[in-house]
């Protein structure tokens, strides 16, 4: 078991506790990458580059009791997310259901989260941290086809894992400033990642054209677009990736010779 500390948007630390398990089929390549990331990364904040960079060679020391408490928190969040995935039309399961799934008492939940709205915000932070850990930028210096494939597959993995919570966030975001901030950070990160991955092609465009290009790429690779491809159009993971790959390849201008 390994823990990584992240800086959350509210500057509270988030411990993402990672247990190495056999990787699910659909994202085996991501999980292979995970080990590399765990070894290399330090903390990821909202202003950090999408590409993780090694920090101090000394690992941070983590208090054991605090780690156990964070682990309980994480299990409660994971129980909430599991219930969302199982029944997406119920945006907020009851505290009793979450406690039952996590294997703790209802009291344990409210000791850690003053209300279920805070649990939802914590789940959003957890998803952001997980996305950063499981989806580092890869093949940044690859050729055009490699970069497109890499970005699409990484994005698809993030969408696949995050779609249940995303629906809940969108439904609740209008009344919750904390959630609004998380949604914004998530979108910022997606755009930053595309800027990194498609830098050679984007560098050939004028400022306004470049902005419009990023707006369109973000729309096409939105999590709801992924959800519709999978659920409404019945595409497999690979088919859906291939739709995005084809679209991005058509959208991007020619790669300059130097790249």
């Amino acid at each position: 078991m390994q823990s990584i500390q992240f800086v959350s948007p509210t500057l509270q630390p988030i411990y993402l506790i990672l247990v190495v398990r056999p990787p699910p089929k659909f994202c085996s390549f991501l999980c292979e990458n995970l080990q590399v990331h765990v070894e290399a990364s330090g903390s990821i904040g909202r202003n950090d580059s999408a590409v993780s960079t090694p920090l101090s060679p000394k690992p941070a020391r983590i208090d054991g009791r605090r780690l156990r408490s964070e682990r309980t928190k994480q299990l409660i969040i994971e129980a909430y997310l599991a219930l969302l995935r199982e029944n997406p039309v119920v945006a907020m399961p009851t505290a009793a259901q979450i406690a039952d799934r996590a294997g703790y008492s209802v009291r344990s939940i409210f000791e850690r989260f003053p209300d279920l709205g805070k649990l939802r915000v914590a789940a959003a932070d957890y998803n952001l941290a997980q996305a950063a850990a499981l989806a580092p930028a890869r093949n940044v210096d690859g050729d055009r086809a490699t970069r497109i494939r890499s970005q699409v597959e990484t994005r698809a993995g993030t969408c696949e894992r995050g779609v249940a919570l995303w629906r809940v966030l969108l439904a609740s975001v209008a009344d919750d400033e904390e959630l609004k901030l998380r949604v914004r950070i998530s979108r910022d990160r997606t755009i930053e990642r595309m800027e990194v991955m498609y830098r050679p092609e984007l560098s050939t465009l004028a400022e306004q054209e470049r902005k419009y290009m990023l707006v369109a790429l973000e729309a096409i690779t939105d999590i709801e677009s992924w959800e519709r491809m999978r659920e409404q159009h019945g595409l497999s993971f690979e088919e859906a990736c291939s739709v995005w790959i084809g679209a991005i390849d058509r959208m991007l201008p020619p790669t300059p010779p130097a790249a």
């Binding site: 039309v89 369109a216 729309a219 096409i220 939105d222 519709r228 491809m229 995005w244 679209a247």
Partner: protein, 223 residues
């Protein structure tokens, strides 16, 4: 607007009555008033749902806005869900009436511009209601069916407007391109351009126009 709907309803009733009796169509005054009350309740619901999106207005709020009693609301709609479904159907008629297909035979740039501007205006107008519908669809198969129907209608419009370009693609390429175009011109995509990226109406249209022009294959010479 109410008159349009009443006229449509009356028209439907006329058409139906023509089948049953050969005599000239006569519209029952009481029935027409009841239809009109229903329309006013639906319009009150739509106005409130737009203002409060994504919250669903209460029966009391709807009744007050429409100028009827709560009882009148429930006499015509057994529950709020039925009213929601009726309101979506009503809105669908308006969307179709307000956005007829134009310039389908124009050149590539004209067709893209026409489709984008029309879509932008539709998104602008219906965004709050769309959000309310999507957020509150819950387990309702009727509402979900209407969401799918609206998306299919959009895809149908895209197929019509970009028929020359789409005709040059294989079946699977065509299907994939339509999926991408639909995602691009989604209502929420429009909302993000304005709320997240801070684009004006014209800038948002320009962003869509640039993307569609890049996504579509070359226009065949015959078009």
């Amino acid at each position: 607007m109410v008159q349009m709907m009443v006229a449509q309803t009356a028209g439907t009733e006329t058409a139906l009555s023509k089948h049953s009796t050969p005599t000239a169509s006569r519209i029952d005054g009481r029935r027409l008033r009841s239809v009109r009350t229903k329309q006013l309740i639906i319009e009150a619901y739509l106005a409130l749902a737009t203002e409060k999106s994504p919250q669903v207005p209460t029966a009391a709020q709807i009744a007050e806005r429409a100028g009827y009693s709560v009882r009148s609301v429930f006499e015509r709609f057994p529950d709020i869900h039925s009213l929601q479904v009726a309101a979506v159907d009503y809105a669908l008629v308006q969307v179709a009436a307000l956005a007829p297909s134009r310039d389908t035979d124009g050149d590539r740039q004209t067709r893209i511009r026409t489709q984008v501007e029309k879509r932008g205006r539709t998104c602008e107008r219906w965004l709050p209601l769309w959000r309310s519908l999507v957020v509150n669809q819950g387990e309702s198969p009727e509402l979900r069916q209407r969401i799918i129907g609206l998306r299919e209608r959009l895809v149908g419009r895209l197929e019509l407007m970009y028929a020359p370009e789409l005709s040059t693609l294989s079946e699977s390429e065509r299907r994939h391109l339509l999926i991408v175009l639909e995602a691009l011109v989604d209502v929420e995509s429009w909302a993000r351009m304005q709320e997240f990226f801070g684009l004006s109406f014209d800038e948002a249209c320009a962003a869509w126009t640039q993307a569609i022009d890049r996504l579509l294959p070359p226009t065949p010479l015959a078009a």
